[in-house]
Symmetry: C2
Subunit: 200 residues, 2 copies
């Protein structure tokens, strides 16, 4: 069975950087946004729409009408959301079968539980996460600290809802992970080579 490492992460904690560096260090595959692209291909939905679904955002594609049309549209949207999750499950299983890998997000810890993945959760205190996000935000997306804080909390709320809906477990609860790493004040670049040794 291949070696699977899943990374759950609080927004702004550096979980993605952690996962990418860990995969590089171990010289194994790394999957993150590639999964969204694959889901879009499998479902013939747009990447933007899939991204919205997996981030648990309400989708703006369908105008709200009245009576039967609304019910029809709701059912149709629900079917699409289910098909996205179904495609996600299939793709994750394919990736897990293919080779050793690091997978960020996507409820991979739960979906691939039969592979007994090493489940890592990366988190940090809110001030560190705000600072990290402020430093890395694109020039055209300059938010105030207050706005960034709101964004971080909103993204995490959606991640928690999504995780809990599909897994029945509590997102970020250490009981669901093998290793929880607080990146506040941690040099991820230096820490990863050490942690990688646990997987050799």
């Amino acid at each position: 069975m291949n070696k699977i490492i899943t990374i759950g992460r609080e927004f702004g904690s550096g979980g993605r950087e952690f996962g990418r560096r860990l995969a590089e260090e171990l010289q194994i595959e790394y999957y993150d946004k590639e999964i969204v692209t694959e889901i879009a291909k499998h479902t013939s939905l747009s990447e933007e729409y899939v991204q919205q679904v997996v981030e648990c955002k309400p989708h703006p594609l369908y105008p709200i009408t009245i009576g039967q049309s609304m019910v029809f549209m709701e059912n149709y949207a629900n079917q699409q959301i289910q098909s996205v999750y179904q495609a996600q499950c299939e793709i994750l299983h394919e990736l897990a079968e293919k080779s050793d890998c690091v997978i960020v997000g996507r409820c991979a810890d739960y979906i691939l539980r039969d592979y007994h993945p090493c489940r890592i959760f990366v988190y940090a205190d809110l001030s560190s996460r705000i600072r990290r996000c402020m430093e890395r935000s694109a020039e055209n997306e300059k938010l105030t600290e207050k706005e960034m804080k709101q964004k971080i909390l909103a993204v995490d709320k959606n991640r928690a809802k999504y995780y809990e809906y599909y897994t029945g477990g509590k997102w970020g609860d250490k009981a669901n992970y093998d290793l929880c790493i607080n990146t506040s004040g941690l040099n991820i670049k230096k820490a990863v080579p050490v942690i990688a040794k646990m997987f050799r």
Copy 2:
């Protein structure tokens, strides 16, 4: 400033073994029950009594009487409990000043916060902890699985109450730690040398 590593742990998770092996690996001091002995010396209370206080058990030393005597006894007991905590703080600071060390329990993560210790929390799922405790329990203390489960839950409840009373924080909440390690299915002996590299 000395390198301080504090270990919080769920009962039966192997946190003590983890801490002891980590100290051995790093060749630094290890403090666990020694602290109770030191508190007893500082306060002139018996080790058994101090152990009861730090485990947040009600103390059976004082008979309950009525009226003023009871109030007096209550005050006296409270004073002793406070003096135990005061001694604990002093001793932990002395140890932290003396040399690099690993300290198990005793709210050391909070009491020594100005030393910026690396705060580890060791946990495991309940079935692993029951198994571990059953394997290690003394011949003269053979509990059934059900009794062992009750004991584990009771000890952890007391640890949580004690921690929360003195620190205001939630015991076992990953936000209060730098690294949380799930020992269910983990070979502690093999894992420690790898984790120790993080502290070199």
